[in-house]
């Protein structure tokens, strides 16, 4: 059995390239260590390319909200128009994320993410020529599709990094990408101010400002295409041609993804950590501008601090997930996810009740840490739900995040039915309710929140069950077998010594 210890420089030369890597790797050539400040090919280079292009997509998707005080006057928007566009901005990515997951499974994360990013860049450029509420809604809708690149980020990290560090890799890549939602609240008002100062009128200055996120998106996608690589040993097309990688069928991947109930539960709960984060990105600048009468730049700075917490909060979630896994295995990952997300919900309720600017900011920052850490913790669990349909499960979960954002904005932030502060409090209540299903997630080989693992259930059985006997005979499932070996640590420290607790309410997994 493969020892997934950190210092093993065990490299199997099963693939063509010669297999010499700077980082230590496991039997699938995935890195077992994460060196943040390195650009070593292919692992760390993939990391930096993917988080940065995802960051640019976030900057573009949320570029409009901090400039709304100007845009709403230019286009004569009503609160309803603004609310609808906010919903549109996150709804496109619901299906795009699921589609992206499948695309990654089939053509690889590099092509999938770069295609999406380059195809949505025109929507950003054309934001500068819109002239009505409906065109505003359309550009925000199409720009929002780019948020699907989240899935390729997580997929790419799960392909490049081994289970002991996959949580932290996913967490930092996701977190630093989400950072874009915060950075844009600083960048856009700054760029707008600069252009306005140089001489443009306000209604032209904001239009020019949109070329910045558009350009960033184009450049980052080209970098991914030119420098990136799907797997440690090469790109999908090349490996498939050489026979080193089996080209999977869409139908099978789809079937094994949608029939895994854990994917659906995580989709729902992710809707109430990430979905909430997206909702806040859309409403928070206007909330502070209107409620506390601060100016555009100040509202942007406050709003930015919410998204900026992502530098450490989401990675922190990933780190916590990996750390809990070292001591308590998968059960530790699930417990920490549940506790952190519940805390986020409570803080959200409190935030809506704050009437003092200072207190409001403090609670918001605390809230941001917990809700974003919950996102990181979720993707500490996702890589283990399925190996064959990893992309689709990532896509479903990611898409669920956006569904949460759509539903929340539809119920609480559309039109003038609820004041923004009431909406925020009620959103917190909804977080608490929608986090409960985590208690239902169960892995036969590792256990769930309240139940221990089934005796004699193994990770090999779990992952091999996704392949038919025929496919197993042809060796298509070899990657899954290696993954199962490398996940042995998800059983927790006392895996062999303690008597297995008989599980009473175990739902049979698909």
């Amino acid at each position: 059995m493969e020892d997934s210890g950190k210092s093993s420089l065990h490299v199997e030369s099963s693939a063509a390239e010669g297999g010499h890597f700077k980082l230590p790797v496991d039997s699938e050539q995935k890195a077992t260590e994460f060196w943040l400040f390195s650009f070593a090919k292919p692992h760390m280079q993939a990391f930096h390319l993917s988080w940065f292009s995802f960051f640019c997509c976030f900057v573009s998707t949320f570029a409009a909200p901090p400039l709304l005080p100007v845009i709403r006057d230019n286009l004569n928007l009503t609160t309803t128009d603004i609310g609808n566009a906010g919903i549109a901005s996150v709804s496109g990515a619901v299906f795009a994320r699921v589609a992206m997951g499948t695309a990654c499974d089939l053509v690889g994360p590099r092509l999938a993410s770069a295609s999406l990013t380059l195809l949505t860049a025109p929507a950003v450029y054309f934001t500068s020529v819109i002239n009505s509420a409906s065109s505003y809604l359309l550009v925000r809708f199409f720009t929002g599709f780019s948020l699907a690149s989240f899935v390729s980020t997580q997929f790419w990290m799960s392909s490049m990094f081994s289970p002991p560090v996959v949580g932290v890799a996913n967490g930092i890549a996701g977190g630093w990408g989400n950072l874009g939602g915060g950075a844009t609240q600083l960048i856009m008002p700054l760029v707008y101010d600069l252009i306005h100062h140089i001489g443009s009128t306000s209604f032209t200055a904001w239009r020019i400002a949109f070329f910045i996120p558009g350009f960033m998106q184009t450049v980052s996608a080209i970098a991914v295409l030119a420098l990136g690589q799907d797997l440690p040993n090469g790109n999908y097309r090349k490996l498939e041609k050489a026979g080193d990688k089996h080209k999977d069928s869409f139908r099978k991947v789809f079937y094994h993804g949608v029939t895994n109930y854990r994917g659906w539960i995580l989709a729902l709960t992710y809707g109430y950590c990430f979905g909430v984060e997206l909702t806040i990105d859309n409403i928070i600048a206007e909330y502070f501008y209107d409620k506390f009468n601060v100016n555009l730049r100040t509202a942007g700075i406050i709003a930015a601090s919410f998204g900026m917490a992502n530098i450490i909060s989401r990675p922190g979630g990933g780190l916590l997930s990996d750390w809990m896994s070292r001591r308590h295995g998968m059960r530790g990952r699930l417990w920490s996810l549940w506790v952190v997300q519940i805390t986020g919900g409570v803080l959200c309720i409190v935030m809506g009740r704050m009437n003092n600017l200072g207190a409001s900011i403090i609670v918001m920052i605390l809230f941001s840490f917990f809700v974003q850490a919950a996102c990181g913790l979720t993707f500490g669990v996702v890589p283990f739900v399925s190996r064959r349909s990893l992309g689709l499960i990532s896509g479903m979960t990611g898409g669920g995040g956006n569904v949460g954002a759509v539903i929340t904005q539809l119920i609480f932030f559309k039109g003038s039915k609820y004041s923004k502060e009431t909406g925020i409090t009620l959103m917190g209540v909804m977080i608490l309710c929608c986090t409960l299903p985590i208690t239902l997630i169960y892995f036969p080989q590792w256990g769930g929140l309240f139940c221990g693992p089934r005796p004699k259930a193994t990770a090999e059985d779990y992952y091999a069950a996704e392949w038919s006997e025929d496919e197993k005979e042809r060796g298509y499932h070899s990657a899954s077998v290696k993954f199962a070996e490398n996940s042995v640590r998800e059983g927790g420290r006392k895996r062999d010594s303690s008597p297995a607790v008989p599980a009473d309410d175990t739902p049979s997994h698909a």
């Binding site: 609160t79 380059l118 025109p122 500068s128 904001w206 239009r207 070329f211 080209i222 501008y289």
Partner: protein, 199 residues
Amino acid sequence: MATAPLLRLVLVVSCIGSSMAVLFSGLPNTLTVTASPAAGQVLHAGVDQIKVSWKLNESTPASADSGYKKVKVLLCYAPVSQVDRGWRKTDDHLKKDKTCQFKVTTQPYSSGGGGSFVYSVERKIPTGTYFVRAYALDSGDTEVAYGQTTNAGKTANLFDVVGITGRHASLDVAAGCFSAFSILALVFFFVVEKRKAKK
């Protein structure tokens, strides 16, 4: 309406000064304000002008304006432009009121006589329906009286402004070029990829 108690209120307010919250409902309507646009006229931002003139009401005693030092004239949103737009809400507390967001002019008040000003509609004025309001300020810059071109219900004598679009042909062209470049870059890489896989 008896002017004496109102005058007393004005004096009290101006004595206490800016530390007290000024309510719009507490201000006397002692100024007559007229603006050049006819009711329903459409003006274009950056192009047209508004001539505003103000003077003390004929019915107000001449001594009422002893506290008036300055006149502040503002362009204000009519109710139809405030619907479903919380950032333009009318609030009785003048500090919180967002009805009048554009300053036309601030001038010293000339006792007895009136004043006028020709305002070029700025390019930052958004599309909407408006009226003009003038506040009389005391030496502490606190509002002590007002007058407006419309009635109390803000339904009469309103005019429209059409704002600039902010669009330029150069922006349209640039957007087209950058978009085309992005798509072409993608196509280029796909072609290169296909060629490499063939080898």
